[in-house]
Symmetry: C2
Subunit: 399 residues, 2 copies
């Protein structure tokens, strides 16, 4: 049943993908295929096989496990794996030799105790957030290698020989990964992060426009579907935190390439992402406040009409002047929203081109003026003024 489900979802995705085809994913798949064929040569070519023997298995394992989507991820995972193997192998050899010195039944006891202590300590450290984020894979490999070496030491005499051979095949696998990943159409985590930030600006700009449009055209009832589909981008922005952090983590590993130099300030990208998420949160609550209160009430009290009095009361209080006010406020609101959207797009473009935006300051000045206008125009209590102000505050913070 599970298997069936798997194939169904796979077929479904293939079908969906036909329309919006992503060349990067295809490139990555082909690269994995190439790396696997290269590493299989260790088995396929006789002279190579005579050199490495059965240990070629470890090279295959390394390629399958380490080959990630972006170059930075491959490097980070590979270095983690190498460090974990060296450390685990070294400590494992020491423990195995200590056990062999003692001999007899004490040998098994020493091995058991060291397995327990290192296993518990490594598992504990894997749950510490700061280690989990960066070294999770390395610690796992450390534990794995340590265990394999220390227990194999009981059975075969040449522990060090064994560890050395495995390590060398892992290095072969790692080199194949690095060569394939860096030399054939490299996919950089830095580019991904850069694009993801730029896309966020565009998404938010569209969301703000779509949001206001939806509000003012809710009475007409037309174009609802089209607007809904275009204004959902803020949600993807809101929940992009962990993805951005992973990308930044990998981007730090990548060497100088393209427009990104050494010590490129990836933290600033994270900071901008954080501010954009705050803006997305504002859009979310702006949308929440658009739902007219009486509608919310009816949805709530729909089942059991216990409090009709409140509904009437609220409708009386919020209903009458609403439509009129909405009309009077429509024009300045639309101007403000389109200005905010333009500012966001401008900022996005300036990040794309890596130039300092000159016109942004001017737009902000205009925005200020318009906002003041909006404030003066409405002395009556209305949603828009304050939310516009809120967004403006955030746009300020962005610059």
């Amino acid at each position: 049943k599970k298997k069936n489900q798997f194939f169904l979802s796979f077929l479904h995705c293939i079908k969906q993908k036909k329309g919006r085809y992503d060349p990067k994913v295809l490139i990555h798949s082909i690269k994995v295929g190439i790396a696997l064929v290269l590493v299989s040569l260790l088995y396929l070519v006789d002279p190579l096989y005579e050199q490495v023997g059965e240990n070629a298995m470890w090279a295959i394992m390394t390629v399958v496990v380490v080959f990630e989507f972006t170059a930075g991820a491959v490097l980070s995972k590979g270095v983690n794996r190498a460090l974990g193997t060296v450390l685990g192998g070294g400590l494992g050899c020491l423990a195995a030799m200590l056990a062999q010195e003692i001999g007899g039944i004490g040998r098994a006891i020493i091995v058991g105790i060291s397995v327990f202590i290192f296993g518990a300590a490594a598992s504990y450290s894997r749950l510490v957030p700061s280690i989990k984020r960066k070294y999770d894979y390395g610690v796992m490999i450390f534990l794995l290698t340590f265990n394999l070496v220390v227990v194999s030491g009981l059975r075969s005499e040449e522990v060090i020989q064994l560890a050395r051979e495995r390590l060398s095949t892992i290095v072969i696998g790692f080199s194949i990964c690095i060569i394939t990943s860096f030399l054939i159409f490299p996919l950089w985590a830095s580019d991904e992060l850069h694009c993801s930030i730029v896309t966020k600006f565009e998404n938010l700009a569209r969301s703000i426009e779509g949001c206001l449009e939806e509000y003012f055209e809710a009475t007409d009832g037309k174009k609802e579907n089209q607007v809904n589909s275009s204004s959902g981008g803020y949600k993807s922005v809101l929940y992009s935190k962990s993805k951005d952090e992973t990308l930044a983590n990998f981007a730090r590993w990548e060497p100088w390439h393209g427009k990104f130099g050494f010590y490129y300030p990836w933290d600033k990208y994270l900071h901008i992402g954080e501010l954009l998420r705050e803006l997305a949160a504002s859009i979310l609550s702006l949308k929440g406040s658009f739902q007219p209160p009486q509608q919310a009430c009816e949805a709530f009290f729909g089942g059991n009409k216990v409090f009709p009095l409140f509904v009437v009361l609220i409708r009386l209080l919020s209903g009458p002047s609403s439509a009129l006010l909405r009309l009077s406020v429509k024009e300045p609101c639309e101007v403000v929203s389109s200005m905010i959207a333009r500012t966001l797009r401008e900022l996005g473009d300036s990040i794309t081109n890596m130039t300092r935006s000159r016109s942004a300051a001017l737009i902000v000045a205009k925005l200020q003026l318009k906002r003041t206008e909006l404030r003066v125009a409405m002395l009556a209590s209305k949603l828009e003024s304050d939310d516009g102000l809120e967004i403006a505050t955030l746009v300020f913070m962005l610059m």
Copy 2:
């Protein structure tokens, strides 16, 4: 250098942890230690070793890789691994036999082509979101096993024998994981998810209170630190989406236990989490709007005093009536916020005890009344009314 950094951060965490000691993490570490010792017995005890031989390695590998924090995660990863191994081993055997039938140089070509095709296809499917979420590990193991079996088939004659032996040791490793994870102090993903949702209610309740308190006491300048520390919880709620989804995914794997039956509605937990995140977004934007506009302006224009005119203009418009209004609005706002906080806590408690909350409806009625009062009291444009309304709308949606 990397290694040093690693140890430093490890020591730092140990030091930090001394204060807030989490028994669950310790239990998990000890369980991993026990499972590893159990699986090492395959090497340590002579009769067992005679049975499995060198393949005991695969059992150790299974334990290290599959043993996750929660029982559901262990089950899910184990089943993924088993399915991936069976499928990959089966297809690998078929491909190896096909290659053997052909023989000669054609053998190597068949192996190379099949490695490339399966490698590319599996990597492609691992990047499809719906597969990545649930079967990522299984696909990786499928690819690994397929490659190992198909290339080993070139060198050893008994491919099927090899695959069968490895599979049986993997089953041994998996059984050890399941036994240790389910029978010794099981840590359930369902409990984690349940607690995480309940904690969210409490966090948001404290954030709302802290937020308003901060706003009204900003002029006094006292108690700032204490308030700041208590009102940051909404951010952790906002960014909890992926963690919740992972937990729900694992919780679905867990068998009947404790208060959770079969087909427990985990989707509802995700839905509640979603609504709470929306509420957290409102709190975030509420906090953003608390920053007085003139302060934001000054922060922006602080460096180059180009637009002092605007600053004066805005201060004139927003300054005068502010303090007075703030006083008049303080009492109803505080009542509303404490009511919302009480409602949230009540809802959290009712989820903890798994009972239907009776008083919630009553509180909502009171809240309605108070909100109406708030609206009547302030006809002038002020932030609080609308944001209070916004929060109320969300509280409505929650029930």
